[in-house]
């Protein structure tokens, strides 16, 4: 599984021998690979006008390109805002709730993200092919897909430690611009252009997986909520800045504490573990039917819905599994 950003083909259909050689070297003789472009075919084509583009078939003969349009940027942020507003609207009658939920399109984004990740995973697992994922910048939907695909395929990513490693690798080190993306969240009126809840979308998808495979993830909802909180506002330096370079310049490692260090302390770790976890060596294929994708109430209704009874249930499960 590889990731990159878009090739700078541009309007004049530029070629780059080194890039072609690199991609060619990845594949064996006669082997076919898949490129999953997270933009629609049209958007990818239009990108050429501003200097970007796609890998032309003629220059990359062994690679087959698939387009799966995933929303990012402004539309995704709008979707998020609309969902939060719908959840918080006390005047909403039952008649209108579902259509408000639908018009936010958030669940549609979840479905699309999971489907695309599953597609990538399917290429790797079922077809035995190599996959290259990229969108435009390679910092948003690209990471969403590669991180989710690994979670689906690789049981070691589903352990607490492995998941943290996955986050470090596929989001932090890979250069997702946290500072820009996770600036003000849903209620801010200052609608920053760079703001978009990709990371939240990722966490939502992970939550869907944990719901569909309750025994297969070593961590629970608490970890996902903690990550969401810390991505926006944190006492720790883990999610600071927009890239490794910036973190290095700001001397983040020297001047702040790591979130992982805190989360891995025994008392904190306890709260994050899933009592039902049992190592599942196999690939977990989620259902992406609409009935299978649910609103992440624990996050979106966190302050609206009383959680007492569900907390009690969770405590009961813990008690049962730990044998009283």
């Amino acid at each position: 599984l590889l990731r990159s950003s878009q090739p700078l083909t541009g309007p004049n259909r530029r070629r780059c021998r080194e890039d072609e050689k690199l991609l060619g070297a990845i594949l064996d003789e006669g082997e076919r690979g898949f490129i999953i472009d997270t933009r629609s075919a049209q958007a990818a084509k239009q990108a050429r006008m501003s200097g970007g583009g796609t890998e032309p078939k003629s220059s990359y003969p062994q690679w087959r390109r698939l387009h799966r349009a995933l929303d990012r940027g402004r539309p995704l942020q709008e979707s998020f805002i609309r969902l939060v507003e719908a959840c918080g609207d006390p005047s909403l009658s039952m008649d209108r709730w579902l259509s408000r939920l639908e018009s936010s399109r958030w669940l549609g984004h979840v479905k699309a993200a999971l489907s695309t990740a599953c597609l990538a995973a399917q290429c790797l697992d079922r077809e035995g092919s190599k996959v290259l994922v990229h969108g435009a910048e390679g910092t948003d939907t690209t990471l969403l897909v590669t991180a989710l695909a690994q979670l689906i395929l690789d049981p070691s990513c589903r352990t607490l430690e492995g998941f943290q490693g996955l986050l470090e690798r596929e989001w932090i080190e890979a250069g997702h611009p946290f500072q820009l993306r996770c600036a003000r969240s849903a209620s801010s009126h200052a609608r920053g252009k760079q703001e978009a809840p990709l990371f939240l979308l990722f966490l939502d998808c992970v939550w869907q997986l944990s719901r569909q495979f309750p025994f297969s993830l070593e961590f629970g909802e608490q970890l996902l909520l903690a990550l969401f909180d810390n991505a926006y506002a944190s006492a720790y330096g883990t999610f600071l800045c927009n890239s490794e370079k910036e973190r290095s310049l700001c001397k983040v490692k020297e001047s702040t504490h790591s979130l992982w260090a805190w989360l891995n302390q025994p008392e904190e770790k306890q709260k994050l573990l899933n009592p039902l976890y049992s190592h599942n060596p196999l690939v977990i294929w989620p259902s992406v039917e609409p009935q299978s994708i649910q609103l992440w109430q624990g996050l979106f209704l966190r302050w609206i819905r009383p959680s007492q009874h569900l907390d009690e249930a969770r405590a009961e499960i813990q008690r049962l599994v730990e044998g009283n």
């Binding site: 698939l66 006390p90 709730w97 479905k111 599953c118 079922r126 025994f215 196999l282 294929w285 009935q291």
Partner: protein, 659 residues
Amino acid sequence: MEHIRMPKVENVRLLDRLSSRRAVVGTLYLTATHVIFVENGSETRKETWVLHSQISSIEKQATTATGCPLLIRCKNFQVIQLVIPQERDCHDVYISLIRLARPVKYEELYCFSFNPKLDKEEREQGWKLVDLNEEYNRMGVPNNYWQISDVNRDYGVCDSYPTEIYVPKSATAHIIVGSSKFRSRRRFPALSYYCKGNNASICRSSQPLSGFSARCLEDEQMLQAIRKANPGSDFLYVVDTRPKLNAMANRAAGKGYENEDNYSNIKFQFIGIENIHVMRNSLQKMLEVCELKSPSMSDFLWGLENSGWLKHIKAIMDAGIFIAKAVAEEGVSVLVHCSDGWDRTAQVCSVASLLLDPYYRTMKGFMVLIEKDWVSFGHKFNHRYGNLDGDPKEISPVIDQFIECVWQLMEQFPCAFEFNERFLIHIQHHIYSCQFGNFLCNSQKERRELKIKERTYSLWAHLWKNRADYLNPLYRSDHSQTQGTLHPQIAPCNFLYKFWSGMYNRFEKGLHPRQSVTDYLMAVKEETQQLEEELEVLQERLANLQKSQSGDNKVKSKQQDRSKQIGLYTSNNSLANTPQEYSNDLKSFPSRSPSQGDEEDSALILTQDNLKSSDPDLSANSDQESGVEDLSCRSPSGGGCLPSEDSGKDSDEAVFLAG
């Protein structure tokens, strides 16, 4: 058997609902009670059994090159798509099924031929499991305020009511009879639930025949009597569960609702729940959404909202909450009615009782609740669920809605119910299956005439025998959630109502979590119990030894790494699952069957196996052509299979195209 034109058809294809590529070939059998499809060739010879009673509709579709398609839709939401090679055969099967699915006499129903091999005494005992007299006594009646009345002992006053009915002490026979003449279908106000703690009660009736201005002294006295039976309150709520418009329209037909001016000290309240026709259509629309091929999120949510289903569920729940509040918090008695007092009234009274009294949240209590508010009070099971061929306009998912309300509550209060989702699903299944006699006919009178108790078996006994399958592992009778009244959040709460895919997509295995948390936790619980018992025994033995010896032996607990132990058990449950078709663009993949070198495919249709382990009796009396596995083994640490709707034993394929 005379209705069966073609008892056996070969080379029939059973299609997966969404992907015609995945079809299995087998033989179709028609028996007096079931339709059975047996797969060819595969080692396990999977069987799909469908009771004729479950068939809701049969659709013969246009013949194609591959054969003649037949679509069977069931009342338990199973949808079976068959393709029969010869058009002539298909037609014969179609005609036979049409007749078989619409019985004319009760004797045609499965319950009269079903034989679980119990003797007469066991059958009788089964029927005695739920005793309503015991229940009313448990509530605390008869007492100073309430008495049992035998005025209806020969069904002379109201033929849809039971023979034994509880009324206020001050309600004489004269008052009862008078009131019954002023009520639709003669369904006079009677006790549904009595709250010992504060003497408040829930009573139920049908609408008064008040028209625009008619009055009835006895009826007014009846309501007064109910009010007086609760000394703690000086007024009575009268709740009409219909939308105001409908109730008003009824006045033109000489019926209507209680005028606050005529009845002293009542507070009248409309709680608009729509009628049976609206509900029937609502369910229809929702099922259409479920049948969409690879819907988008939008299609699904729009369709769901358009059906209005969850809105109706919420309306029923809100009514129940209102009544529970009136009784528990205000200490005021409530009289509930709708039009005829056998649909919405039953729903609302039973939801309210469930909220108020933790007993009804136990397995036994729930059975009692259904027996009381639905069976004894004359809910028209035959008309509503089509035991016999009848007027399609009478069909409506009334009890289904109640059962769903219970499920919604279970989701909000996971520790509060002694039983689990499977219990609800099986009850719903059997309401339509007519395998047991509990839900036949339209009234107690009809059931007695048919001698149901002597000729059929009780579902309750059957469920009770298998109660281990139906337990909720999170339930503890000493838990705070299980005590007292349940208080569902009132507002905002729209989001609390979820689509119940466990019921409406029950047979689509790909949709559900492959491992059942409930079953796992039950296994853990059992294991813990066994270990604790062993520990006790060992400790005793050690104590005895220590008495006869001196020594410093420490008692070592036999707690092994239980999570590992159980973990092994669950991994045996084949965690493997296969991917959906996530790609729209089928051509992008060289076709490599997902089953290549993989875990066995299993049909997405519920096989009798899955039902059987909780219904072991079905195998005992089936027209079996082949041996059917008995999945009744239940040892947790033995790695045996747990009976579960979502049995992880087979890996399931979700093979529908994603949007």
